[in-house]
Structures are given as C-alpha cells and as structure tokens.
Point group: C2
Chain length 268, copies 2
C-alpha cells in the first residue's frame, strides 16, 4: 500500500501518550493518526487539537462512539456521551467517528440490536449537524459479549442502508471481517459506504480474544486482496494500522513504528 | 427440551473412557451418546460397538471426519482417513458423521474452501454406499486457523445444496452459529437438511477460543428460541450436549452428568 495512506491507530503503540504518538508519527513520516478517547481525555481536547494540527497530521478517526446496548444505561445518557464523542471528532477534524455498537449483556440479542439501531437514529442528526461521519464497525463475532452485537459487514450495511444518510457508513477492519464467506459480495454492495479501513493480521493460533492480533504479514489474512476489494468500493482515505497486541505493547514503540511502516508497504 | 432427546457428546466428560461414558449414560438414564474417534480407537471399534449396543444407546454422531484443507496431506490420504471414519460410523449405527472441515494454513482461503468442497465430493459416494450421513458443521469464525474454514450456516448450506444428496446435510451447533444475524433466515432455508443439533452456551467474557464453553443456561444464547427454529427445519433427532470446557473437565463427571440432564430440561 502507498505509504502516503498510512495512518497510525494509536492503540498499536498503546504505551505512548497522545503527544508521544504524534511525535512518533512525525519522526517516522506517518501522515495520519487515529485517536482514542481515553488518550484525548488524558491530553485534554484543546491540547490534542493543537498537537495534531501543529504536527500536520490528518486524524482519520476517533475511537470510539457507540456502546448503545446496555439496558442499565438510559438512552439519554448514551446519547449524551456519544454527542461528546461527536464534538471531539469535530474539533479534531477527524474523518470518522468509529461506532463500536456495544455488547450483548443478556440473552435478548434482537433487543440489543434494536437498541443499536435506535441509538444510531438518535445520534445521526447531531453528527450531521457537526459535519461528522459515523462509521459502523462490525466486530469479530467472538467479541459479541464484550464489544459489539454488530458482527458482519452485511449487518452493518443493512443498518447503514436503512438510514441512507451521507453521514453514516461502515468501517472495514480486516481482522474483524476477513473470515466471512460473504465478504466479497458485501464489499461490492458497499460502494460509497466505506468510511474507514483498518489493517492488522490474524495469528494462526490466536490465544486471546482481544489482544492477540499480529502485524500485517504475520498471519492468515490475504491483505492485498482485501485492499483491492476495499479500493473497489471507492474508498481512498487513510488506512489505519490497528494492532491490539499485548506482546507488541511490550516492545519498544519506536521499533514497532519502523515495522508498521515496512509491513504497510510490503504486506497491505 | 424433552429428556428423551438428550444425547451426551462424550467430550463433555472428556476424562471418561468410552466405557465409563456409556456407563454414565445408563446410570443417568441418558438415551444417546456421541463418540469421538480417539476414544473409539482407545476402546477398539468392535468393543465400542458392543458397549453401546449392550447399553441400548443411540449413537447420534461420530466426531469427526473432515480436515480436508492441509495442502501437505494428499487428497488420497485425506480420503482414506475419512473412509475409515465412515466405516466406524456405519459399524456404530451412528446417525451422522460430523465433518469438521479443516483450518486455513496459509493465506489462500478460497483455495482451502475449494479443498473442502472437493473432499466432500470424493467422500460422499462412500458415505452413501455405507448408509452414513455426513453433517457439515460450520464452526465459529474464531476457529478458522485451527479447525474449520466453514464458518457460517449459509456457507454450509451452500455446500450442501451444491451436491443435493440425501446423505449430506448440516450440523447446527448453537455455540458456533448463535451470533449470526443471518441465522433465522438460514434455518428457514435449512428445512430437511439438518442432521444434528448441539447445545452448550457462550460465556459473557470468554477467555479461551476452544475450551471455555458454558453449560446451557449459563451464557448469552437464547437456546429455547434456537431450539424452536431448529425444530422448524423438521429435525427430530437426538440433541447433543457438547460442552468443551477445561473447567468442567476438572469437576466430578457424575456431577456434570446430573447438571447436564437438569439444564437440558430447563434451558434448552
């Protein structure tokens, strides 16, 4: 993949503060960054805005809004937190606010999925008013009990098509969707709907459901093929390297960034 | 679920030999059993046949044939092993030989899926000649690198419909398919194609990709709803309790069987 499209999702170097991650991007000639809300909060929003602007970085996404499913949290509270996320994304000039839609907390899967739909409906006008794009990210089905009841690209596109609003689309994360026999067909369907593309790799023998992703090229995903299919949807934005890996987090972040750049060029 | 349909998949009490598992079924009034090939081999096929016959047990399945995907194993060797599995299933009078189709071992997912298709094509005439039914079991996508490139009921049905042979169908394991937004539609499509139904439960915070299943009622799956949908396909056979759980394996097998019976009655 063309190095000019590389964006560092900062969770790949999770030990770094926002300021350190920005400095790392500058040092390594990485033009984009994706920011997590806990790191934005730690830096302070105004300072975060200044840091990325002064560094000349494009903010490809803010991670994350969503979490619509908890029956113990009122829809008003969920909306309030998501509106804050929209405001942060707007202030940072982020291309997309990623929506991780929330886990299943009881046995009512249909009910949880309805709460996701209703949460998006409530949030969408605020996002549109702020000029922020919402990207529904389907997560791997193994994360249904901890992160998201939206588990396939087909399901995410069904949601997006229901609203048919320019400010709502999907985020394609290779790690979450690569296994799906329906993926090629859904990417054909996704033309014009893709707001983000994330890459990492699936280890042959994965040992942890959250933090055992591999660097691109170290796993089973045919990333060049997937990249071509995502390109076929018309998506031309920054491509985030998002590797949640407790092993990688123990390595020297500067070495990690060197390898991220190399693998992005060679294996994506 | 009616207790008369309960079948013990012996991996639920993995510390027991085939003989001990058969004795456990008799002691607890469980009418069916599913046997694994390593335990059949340990007991000896002839003795296994005698044990289940003398106990009056119905053998709902033999686990497992398949494993078609390894490029390092010749198709002839894969077929030879699967023919032995067919012969064992025939000798035991098993309702179904479960096919776990094999993992992805490189980045050629389409190629691996073609090997599965070709492997089934080669095996099917032998199964039909022996009067054995082959059940394609889609496995959870998280197991793609270690067990199966067949990861959804839709994909399994696509395979089965391609051959349209009475000796080929699908096995629905709640643990593997429950998350799928497409599940209800695919079960409607599956009418007359379901050869087996397995139950266990998905723990809210799963910590292991293979051995962290829960007993029915201890997780997030709406099993009564799924059971009704499986019944809607016309499936009336034995329902296997298959709980791969390292925690359960450390408990007293007799206590486990007591709880299996109770949960089968209350939560399936």
């Amino acid at each position: 993949m063309d190095a000019g499209r590389l964006s560092l999702n900062q969770i790949t170097v999770n030990s770094l503060s926002l300021e350190e991650a920005v400095e790392g991007c500058v040092r390594h000639g990485i033009g984009g960054i994706a920011l997590w809300r806990d790191k934005i909060a730690a830096a302070g929003l105004d300072r975060a805005v200044r840091l990325v602007r002064d560094a000349g970085l494009r903010v490809t996404s803010v991670c994350r809004g969503g979490m619509f499913t908890d029956p113990a949290t009122s829809p008003a509270d969920v909306l309030a937190d998501n509106r804050r996320a929209v405001e942060e994304a707007a202030a940072l000039g982020a291309d997309t606010l990623v929506l991780v839609c929330g886990p299943l907390l009881d046995t009512d899967l249909a009910g949880a999925r309805r709460r996701v739909r209703d949460g998006i409906e409530a949030l969408l006008p605020h996002a549109a008013a702020a000029g922020v794009h919402l990207g529904v990210e389907p997560l791997h089905p193994m994360m249904i009990g901890v992160r998201s009841v939206v588990v396939s690209l087909r399901q995410a596109l069904d949601l997006v098509e229901e609203f048919d609003d320019d400010h709502l689309g999907v985020v394609v994360d290779a790690y979450h969707v690569w296994w799906d026999p329906d993926l090629a067909a859904q990417l054909e369907r996704a033309h014009g709907r893709v707001l983000g593309y994330h890459v990492s790799d699936w280890k042959p023998a994965t040992t942890d459901l959250l933090l055992d992703r591999a660097l691109m090229g170290d796993g089973l995903i045919d990333l060049p093929q997937l990249s071509a299919r995502v390109a076929g949807t018309g998506f031309t934005g920054g491509v985030e390297v998002e590797v949640l890996s407790s092993a990688l987090w123990r390595e020297d972040p500067d070495d990690v960034l060197t390898r991220v750049k190399q693998r992005f060029a060679d294996a994506v």
